[in-house]
Symmetry: C2
Subunit: 132 residues, 2 copies
DNA sequence: CTATTTGCAAAGTGTTTGCAATGAC
DNA sequence: GTCATTGCAAACACTTTGCAAATAG
């Protein structure tokens, strides 16, 4: 996604185009990691020179409401954000903390109306298994 | 589980038997809800007359380490605790906040070593669907 | 020029920690 | 009597809020 496509996306959602917002989205798209607010903050600060946690959290909230971002409730500590909103789960390595996307198939029968499904698997990732 | 069985369970794990610990476990077993630390605190305070959040969190931590309790990372806010450690998922009603146990079958292939799987489904529960 | 956005500082929430007093055994 | 446990108060980490200054359009 080019900068002007990011700008269009923001404008079409009624949002103003600010350097902070553009850089947040650029970061999420380019790196495809699963960053915390802290990591997004550090990147945008480096790139733009000025940003605050207020702006990070505000922007992540509007992006989530726009359906452009998923907020993932990894157990303890901080939430992480995923720009890939397709249906997939996450594997969290308990050694190095890396979060991997995983494909899954889940079936369950509930007398309720499901809106969102969250699958999180905790364990040790391949890389850490080798190192240990 | 009788009080003396609870006492035995504590002792066999090298823990002293205090009124607060007994009442915490009794509460988890009798009600089978998915309480937050706050709810456990309120119950134990009413029953025992004296308890602190320090004690609640300390006890829940040792119970979790003993494998007697599962801590569930429901999205926002506070964690909830489940004394049923068998393999099952959870449905969280976004209207009333109730957490229901759900049976599920999930399949995924990962090059990693899984230790724990957490499935949480968010939506509107049957009861709230009728009321709305 | 106007309405939105930024960002500081302060507040808020759930949880943990330091440490003295209490209590189990 | 000894060592674990309790519980207060303070500290913590992440996130949100109030509000004035800056900025996009």
């Amino acid at each position: 996604m080019t900068t002007s496509q990011i700008a269009d996306m923001l404008r079409s959602n009624g949002l103003k185009v600010t350097p902070q917002r553009v850089e947040i989205i650029r970061f999420l798209q380019a790196h495809r990691v699963h960053p915390t607010a802290q990591q997004i903050y550090e990147h945008v600060l480096r790139k733009v020179g000025s940003v605050s946690f207020t702006t990070i959290y505000n922007t992540m909230r509007v992006l989530e409401q726009m359906g452009q971002v998923r907020k993932i409730p990894i157990t303890e500590n901080a939430a992480i954000y995923d720009i890939d909103t397709s249906d997939h789960g996450h594997f969290v390595c308990e050694i190095c903390g890396t979060v991997y996307d995983i494909a899954y198939k889940a079936s369950f029968q509930i007398p309720h109306q499901a809106r969102k499904t969250e699958l999180i698997v905790y364990g040790v990732c391949e890389r850490c298994m080798k190192t240990q």
